[in-house]
Amino acid sequence: MLEQLSPATAAREVEKNLRRRWRPGEKFIESWIFLAGILTIVILLGIIALLLKEGLPIFLDTPPWEFFFGTKWYPVSDPPTFGIMPFFMATLWVTLVATAISVPVGVACAAYLSEVAPAEVREVVKPIIEILAGIPSVVMGFIGLMILSPLVQSTFNLNTGLSGLTAGIMLSLMSLPIIISVSEDALRAVPSDFRQAAYALGATRWETIWHVSIPGALSGITAAIMLGVGRAIGETMTVLMVAGGALAIPVSPTEPMMPMTAAIASGIGNAVRGGLQYQALFAIGLVLFVITLAVNLVADRVLERQKRKFTR
């Protein structure tokens, strides 16, 4: 009878018997443990509630249509206008540049590290990628300011090196670690029997990677890419420092621009609490939150599917 119980159920049975002795101290601690357990939900709901409470009132002044598709952001003119299209397009450009670089480079690097690289190379490269993941975003912004932007300026013959392109390149570096590590995990999860079978059919190592490993890990790699994109969209300091901060709608990545995160960071210091600009900035925060939430939820789903794929 007893061996049919799962360990957790057995533990509960034992505990039920022990519960006869009253232990107020333990009950107290255990209730705190429960509260800590649900704290993450409380914080997430708190963020949602606050963004809604402070952000939604802007739509009483600026209709959603004008807010989302308006092309002018003049918070201090009279009357002020709050159109976030310039910020949205800037985020789009910067994320596009970052993704265009980090996805091919990151996936190729992951394929090399998990399928080809000898152990000694991996032991050197992996810590370097960990260092990259550890570099604070403000330091990346600083490097973009000092090293990359003069380079971009002279290469593309621009008036200023502070542009969406510069920010995108720095962001691509910052989203590489997560793309590489998640893709690598996905590639490693492909069972080695699959590769052995491909070799047995006469495939070369590369043909095996291209036709067996990568297709097998595709959903994990997709999740990796989405997490990288989420990272690029939410990054603040780097784009604040090197994207240029111009308020016009950017039509090319080489223009200076102001992504949504930078718009919040640079405006919030001057915004009067409860004023229209304050509300508008919280509404941008809400838009950012919804986008990153969607990206993360989908990435998580895709990742779960990948995990289940090869478990038998």
Partner: protein
């Protein structure tokens, strides 16, 4: 199927391998360039005075002591809140939670908290801690804000560390009559401690480098002295770097690089510390 000759296939393999090696080099080179540039350009600014004096002339001369101390206060303040709550949440998820909708919701919340942009945490801290709780623009508000951001990480690492404790230990303890809390307190937590500490050190490293949230909730550019209470404003290395790099005209270049170097050393040394703890624990486990 039209069979291609072996040599063409070997050739395309060689080309493909070269490509992915080049990709790896493209990842590695910028990291080396960034770290080396910061060390080479910043080393000249580092002196005893730079590390132990308060700034003067809008940061153009003097040192950065208040920013260094402020960053350490911030790391401590963050971990004081995020570690106990994270460990308790980890205990709840591994030892108490059943497989029901609430647990799924908690896991969903953790995943999403980890992906919320840092500037949104800044808005949250501003709305909740600075304004609603009236903590003002202060060290306390900033610590609580960063703690909310670090929580997802401390919960996840605590949960992993507790899950790594062999199930037999726990069952053995319960079998000899220990209560669930006694088992956790005397058996599970000591076993999971190295993993928990590794996560905590990583969370502190991240808190040290975080800029966007503290920009919103209370970092100051220049303060005459160190904060004397958690309700005062504070200087911090990442915010100082942002300001001297982007907002102070005529800033001596070497000073800015120096600030970047100090920040990088603080952040990366905590990363290295976490790695050392992890490796030593693994070593000990292997020796047992």
């Amino acid at each position: 199927m039209k069979a291609r000759s072996i040599s063409t296939r070997q050739l395309s393999q060689r080309a493909a391998f070269s490509l992915i090696i080049v990709a790896t080099i493209i990842v590695v080179i910028p990291v080396l360039v960034i770290v080396l540039q910061i060390i080479l350009n910043g080393a000249g600014a580092i002196s005893w005075d730079f590390l132990t004096q308060a700034p003067s002339q809008a940061g153009k001369s003097g040192g950065i002591l208040p920013a260094i101390v402020g960053t350490f206060y911030l790391m401590l303040g963050t971990i004081v809140f995020a570690l106990p709550l994270g460990v308790m949440a980890g205990i709840y998820l591994t030892e108490y939670a059943r497989d029901n909708w609430l647990t799924r919701l908690i896991n969903l919340a953790i995943i999403n908290l980890a992906g919320v942009p840092s500037i949104v945490y800044g808005l949250f801290g501003l709305g909740i801690f600075v304004l609603l709780f009236h903590f003002g623009m202060s060290l306390l508000s900033a610590s609580l804000t960063l703690a909310c951001q670090a929580l997802a990480m401390t919960v996840t690492t605590s949960r992993e560390a507790i899950l790594a404790v062999p199930r037999e230990y726990t069952e053995g303890s319960l079998a000899v009559g220990a209560t669930r809390w006694q088992t956790i307190r005397h058996l599970v937590l000591p076993q999971a401690l190295p993993g928990i500490i590794t996560g905590a050190v990583l969370a502190m490293s991240r808190a040290a480098g975080e800029t966007a949230p503290i920009l919103v909730v209370g970092a100051a550019f220049l303060l005459p002295g160190l904060p004397k209470s958690p309700f005062e404003q504070f200087m911090a290395l990442p915010y100082h770097l942002y300001t001297v790099a982007a907002h102070v005209p005529g800033m001596p270049k070497s000073t800015v690089w120096g600030v970047a170097l100090v920040l990088l050393v603080v952040v990366l040394s905590f990363n290295v510390l976490a790695t050392i703890i992890r490796l030593r624990t693994r070593q000990r486990r292997l020796n047992v």
